[in-house]
Symmetry: C2
Subunit: 300 residues, 2 copies
């Protein structure tokens, strides 16, 4: 069975693993990444990690996930807020020369979605849309086993999609952008505003209060259902996926989010689209497994 090297590079830590084409992790190593010290330091750490993996020479290729938009053709980052000096740095070329293996780079959310599409909840399906709802909201479209990263690596970067243009502008994103209205951070913010006396510290408390019948919390959750339902109805109009896969911290509250959200999705969608399944992500390590799937998705 073919194996690949997967690398999950973050601003704080980096992991490397040897992984089978079925997504099984055979060996894994990790290290602090020293992401603020520049590409030379960071890439030395990455290379040493790969060299420390048993039988790395037998792998067919290398894939790496990084935080932020990626130019997948050039194998470099477009924006690198957590990795100083990496904007435009030829990461894939550097590793390819070092190890003599075909190397591919993509955004970490894209890579997690690729893992779910190829060896997780979307296995065997042609068109998969993966969404992560956590501190922020991201996602990726996977078609025929390849991520659709697009011209600037922004494919699936759905955070800025407007679900209601008449809301207040909160940050650099659009007024009414889905991340500003539906992320865990957003639900916490709304909970604090509406329920100032209850000491809301995370979104889970808002869901709990709604279950207990708190009227203001229920309004927040009802609006979330409508907002997310509209997001997925919109995405379905663009690519009509075989499946929507949902990951990220908010899915700890899936029972509070999904049924109401799917009901709203149906209200806003042609009935032909009602049977599209919404399922939870099923992999434990989508970041590093998905990185290893990048060469596989390119036919290597």
């Amino acid at each position: 069975m073919k194996t690949y090297i997967g690398i999950d590079l973050g601003g704080t830590n980096v992991r490397a693993a040897r992984i089978t084409e079925e997504g099984e992790i055979l060996a894994q190593v990790s290290s602090p990444s020293h992401g603020q010290e520049g590409p030379e330091t960071v890439m030395k750490i990455v290379k040493d990690l790969v060299y420390s993996l048993p039988n790395w020479q037998e792998c067919a290729g290398i894939g790496m996930g990084v935080p932020g938009p990626v130019n997948t053709e050039k194998g470099c980052m477009e924006i690198s807020s957590n990795l100083t000096g990496f904007k435009g740095y030829p990461i894939a070329d550097d590793l390819q020369k070092e190890f003599g293996l075909p190397t591919f780079l993509d955004n970490d959310a894209n890579v997690a979605g690729l893992a779910e599409a190829l060896v997780g909840a979307g296995k065997g399906l042609k068109t998969v849309f993966y969404t992560t709802i956590s501190t922020g909201i991201g996602g990726v479209l996977v078609v025929n086993g390849q991520t659709v990263s697009g011209k600037h690596g922004f494919g699936g970067e759905i955070a800025n999609i407007i679900i209601d243009r008449n809301r207040k502008k909160i940050n650099y994103l659009n007024a009414g952008a889905v991340e500003v209205e539906c992320s865990g951070t957003a639900i916490t913010r709304k909970g604090r505003e509406a329920l100032a006396d209850l000491g809301v510290e995370h979104a889970g408390q808002v869901f709990a209060l709604a279950r207990e019948g708190n009227q203001k919390a229920k309004e927040i959750v009802t609006t979330l259902h409508r907002d997310l339902g509209q997001l997925f109805a919109t995405i379905a109009c663009v690519c009509d996926p075989d499946i929507f896969i949902l990951g990220g911290g908010m899915m700890k509250s899936a029972d509070d989010v999904l049924p109401g959200m799917i009901e709203e999705y149906k209200k806003l969608s042609h009935e032909a689209l009602w049977d599209t399944p919404f399922v939870l992500a099923e992999l434990k390590e989508p970041g590093i497994v998905g990185a290893a799937m990048l060469p596989k998705s390119q036919g290597i």
Copy 2:
């Protein structure tokens, strides 16, 4: 050079042509389709047309575009409002048995977009989004030379995307759906409502009045710019295409629509996305050329 048979089947007429892999039409025939008389009658007409094409035996495959959503795997229509009895009818199988050539079916808007992606304005690009704005609004995403039709053939069926959920509900589509607010029909409706005394009969008159300084017409056009800008900003978040290609009757007024629309698109998009080109469709016969491109897009 390879050649293919392209068939453009509508409720009123049907055309068939022999077309090169570069999109050149070598021979074309047409007939009334008798779309209300059922599959047996219609398919007989289609087959006779193909038989009448010189050297049809030398073609590598057959592609057909039809009006409405298609199950591309099964080669049949999901909904067939203009072709009585065609819902679920195995069109592709029927033609494949008759002519012994691999046969593919897709929606006519998808097929037009495929033509533009493969041999028109998007030639050589990886991720292409084609939009037609006319009586209605439709489109298609083309990735790696293949249309992303999705689970139910609704991929690119962007008519129902909500650009402002606070608008009035007008028809069966969502309140604030882009087709209800931005199609040629919608601009004509808004013109009639706002300019009742001026006898507006088509969208072009609203654009002309706006150019002449009519305040109410200018407001309609300004809103159109914002609404369409938001539509394309939304699509860019999902798939970040290398190019947006625009076709359909409204592009006769491209000078009135595009500059303002692109300005709004930029306001609602991350600056990394500002350089995505918006260009006009360039093929004269995208419907039939695109049908012929269906087998090519499948590697035939």
